[in-house]
């Protein structure tokens, strides 16, 4: 069946794409996808990140129509958190995007395990599938966990960080982390008071940090202010982040590999041992290192 699904994706059969994404998201087809090599027509991959409630889904929803007017097709991969206790998830981003029936727009909701850097498993493979289908743009919405989630950098051409007015004092912007990986910063909800001030503080913090100049754009999804300016910037900014030498890419890949290896029976029984309380976490980690040193099952 997978072969016909692959043909389907190349024929632009949406259902084949949907089915293959399901397989890729659960770790199947990964080797086949890796062997594809670079895409014939690389997509522009944009990651939208920022804390929960900042308006990522709403903003993406507002980008769809003008993007289509500019003649771009777009796939949107919306990540929402999965419960670490039950494995369940409520994927509600799609509702906020209000997508029309348009063959040039594909929206897919993906669940991200907790503690997995705010993006779904095997996201790189899912992105590659969307490129194979031929989308011009791929927008990835992260879970929106907050300050330390920088893994998106490895998979995106551009990382857009959403902030909103009244988000802590100016010291907030001095913290290391997500501000450093952004290629573009959006002060969202710019119709609210305090937006200009937030923009000034962020610009000041970035200037102090030195290095490259990161654009800061004021946007309001409610009024439409700044949407066109944001799209212009997203089209014109050079791709910076999607590169193999990034330490985040390495750590993320290592984490995914570890995740795969934990399905091995020896690792499962080790986890059971730790969860029962018979060994502490340090002992469990030590034994895990030994396990990962063994040949792959």
């Amino acid at each position: 069946m997978p072969e016909s699904l692959w043909e389907g994706v190349r024929r632009r059969d949406r259902r084949a794409l949907a089915r293959l994404i399901s397989r890729a998201a659960r770790g199947q087809e990964i080797d086949t996808i890796r062997q594809l090599g670079p895409p014939q027509k690389p997509a522009r991959v944009i990651a939208i990140t920022g804390s929960g409630g900042v308006g990522k889904s709403s903003l993406i929803g507002k980008l769809i129509e003008p993007l289509r007017q500019r003649g771009r097709t777009v796939a949107i991969l919306a990540c929402d958190p999965e419960s670490p206790l039950t494995g369940g998830a409520l994927l509600g981003d799609r509702f906020r995007m209000g997508a029309a029936l348009d063959d040039g727009v594909y929206i897919r909701s993906l669940a991200a395990c907790s503690g997995r850097q705010a993006i779904a498993d095997h996201l790189d493979a899912v992105i590659r599938l969307c490129e194979e289908y031929g989308f011009d743009w791929i927008i990835v919405e992260t879970v929106g966990a907050g300050q330390g989630d920088t893994a998106v950098r490895a998979w995106a051409d551009l990382v857009v960080l959403l902030l909103q007015p009244e988000t802590g004092d100016e010291l907030q912007w001095e913290k290391a982390g997500v501000l450093e990986v952004a290629d573009l910063i959006v002060i969202h909800k710019a119709d609210l008071p305090g937006a200009d001030r937030a923009a000034q503080q962020v610009r000041a913090a970035l200037e102090l940090a030195g290095g490259t100049i990161v654009p800061v754009i004021l946007v309001s999804s409610r009024t439409g202010k700044g949407i066109a300016e944001l799209l212009d910037a997203l089209e014109s900014l050079p791709s910076k982040s999607r590169r193999g030498d990034d330490v985040h890419a390495f750590l993320n890949e290592a984490q995914q590999e570890l995740h795969r290896r934990l399905r091995d029976p020896a690792a499962t029984s080790l986890l059971a041992l730790w969860r029962s309380g018979r060994i502490d976490i340090h002992e469990a980690l030590r034994r895990l290192w030994e396990l990962t040193g063994s040949p792959q099952p």
Binding site: G92, A99, S109, L262
Partner: protein, 141 residues
């Protein structure tokens, strides 16, 4: 839930939606929550969906199930349209469940149209959860 026993089991994906002019979404949200807590991946499509947008969502999300909530009395109009649109989109493998205010007399008619089950007011959540989890659609098994 990668660290638990039985982790190879893939979560069931279910699209929940309300179709047409029907603003009563409390019930469907409670069902969404129950299914989420039972380990399903619930794609909440929300209020005021059209037949076409629901079917598009089911296809794009590669769902195992579609759950429709109707409290407007329009079920005998909307459900046949949904079933026909699902067939035309080649989504026969996706199970459809209907919830809401559905008169007893209409239930057999809905089942005849291909609806898997109708859940009326007062249905225990556990019953919906067990039904959805008991049967993964054939094409996804």
């Amino acid at each position: 839930m990668w660290y638990a026993e039985g982790m190879s089991e893939e979560p069931i994906r279910i699209v929940l939606a309300k179709v047409g002019l029907d603003g009563h979404d409390r019930g469907i949200k409670v069902v969404a929550r129950a299914l989420r807590d039972a380990g399903c991946h619930v794609i909440y499509a929300g209020l005021w969906q059209t037949v076409e947008s629901v079917v598009r969502t089911v296809a794009d999300e590669d769902a195992d199930w579609l759950g429709i909530s109707i409290l407007s009395g329009a079920h005998m109009t909307l459900v046949p349209q949904i079933m026909e649109a699902m067939r035309q989109a080649g989504l026969d493998h996706v199970g459809v469940i209907v919830g809401g205010i559905i008169p007893e007399a209409d239930v057999p008619k809905l089942l005849e149209m291909g609806v898997s089950r109708v859940f009326g007011p007062g249905t225990p959540m556990q019953q919906i959860v067990e039904f959805v989890k008991s049967r993964r659609s054939a094409a996804h098994a």
